[in-house]
Symmetry: C2
DNA sequence: CTATAATTTCAGTAATTTCTGAAACTACAG
DNA sequence: CTGTAGTTTCAGAAATTACTGAAATTATAG
């Protein structure tokens, strides 16, 4: 399957971007290809389109499955596995965020929590603990909030985002009186 | 300068995490060290503490400076450069976000915008463009919103985040009547 | 200026990551 | 069962990325 210039460009861009995200080029390309394809694809089609080995595709797909970013499908009278990406991009984004949280944020929070609990004698260590506490609190706050956002349905979310600047106004309005934020 | 077990643990964790983020181990370690240190540090101190070559530290610091994550300082009667990380963690987070946006999001948005403009003939390409449009819109929405959040001062933000679940309630309250979100 | 301290650059090497082809495994049709 | 299509695993090769030490550059003190 020869890729159109349009899809090729998309695929190559994602390959590059992947590298900057600790995801390898081929995995990025495989995902971009599946994401932009109207039909689900099988491993041979992917290998041929991207001109990489069959085994490399197998490993890439395994990786993408471990991130829950691709879905396995079957066709009648065809024993091969076909892969597709979920339709809903917001849903994809959520999956990605959840997975990153599980792999990166959660272990970091644990580490920080344990570290700040440790008894220390040195001033330097006391300072380090303060810094770790700050970092911990920020991450926890941010992920906690993000978890809330994730709970919203897509419609609410879109409206919310489209409000742009007004979000702040609305919130300030509701907040005044309870725990009054500083006037700008 | 020998690192305390506490700081060492923090430093090593960030080294590992760095690798998952397209940042190399040493750069992650250097940053963690500077971040957790009560005084600013010079390159020799860093090289010794982390047991890496002086030149490696020089490259790492250059990288961190390009991300505006470390600040250069000088001391009277000392010609060496000293480095420190800004105090405010929210500020650090913003810097990081802005920099990533500039390097990853913006080029991706351009690519997507151009790609969806391209005239195409194939059905497959038409589908691909629809997908790219979806992705583009989501990214734009998300970054636009994030830009708003960044504009808030830290106090508002903390209050907002601490509200947790209630944020949704407040927004739903204000939104009803204008562009009514779906009832859950 | 000159000497020296501090930093950066860079070519070569080391370490790590990615990729491949062959072999092993799995599942199913006949 | 047996044969075959499909998939995965894995050891080694290839490619990429990170690191070092030496040399070059820059800055400043005397």
């Amino acid at each position: 399957m020869k890729l159109s210039p349009l899809v090729l460009r998309f695929v190559l861009h994602f390959g590059e971007m992947g590298s900057r995200w600790g995801i390898n080029r081929t995995v990025g390309q495989i995902y971009a290809l599946i994401f932009s394809s109207p039909q689900s694809l099988n491993a041979d089609e992917i290998a041929e389109s991207l001109d990489v080995s069959r085994s490399n595709v197998s490993m890439g797909l395994k990786e993408l499955q471990s991130w829950s970013l691709v879905r396995l499908e079957h066709r009648v009278g065809d024993r091969r596995d076909y892969f597709r990406a979920p339709e809903d991009v917001w849903q994809i984004f959520q999956t990605l965020a959840q997975e990153r949280k599980k792999r990166e944020i959660d272990p970091t929070l644990s580490m920080l929590r344990e570290a700040v609990m440790e008894p220390v004698n040195e001033d330097a260590d006391r300072y380090a603990q303060k810094r770790m506490q700050d970092m911990h609190d920020l991450i926890e706050l941010a992920t906690g909030w993000f978890a809330e956002v994730q709970r919203m349905d897509q419609a609410t979310l879109k409206t919310l985002m489209k409000m742009g600047t007004r979000v702040q106004k609305v919130l300030e309005f509701k907040l005044v009186g309870s725990s009054a934020p500083k006037k700008s």
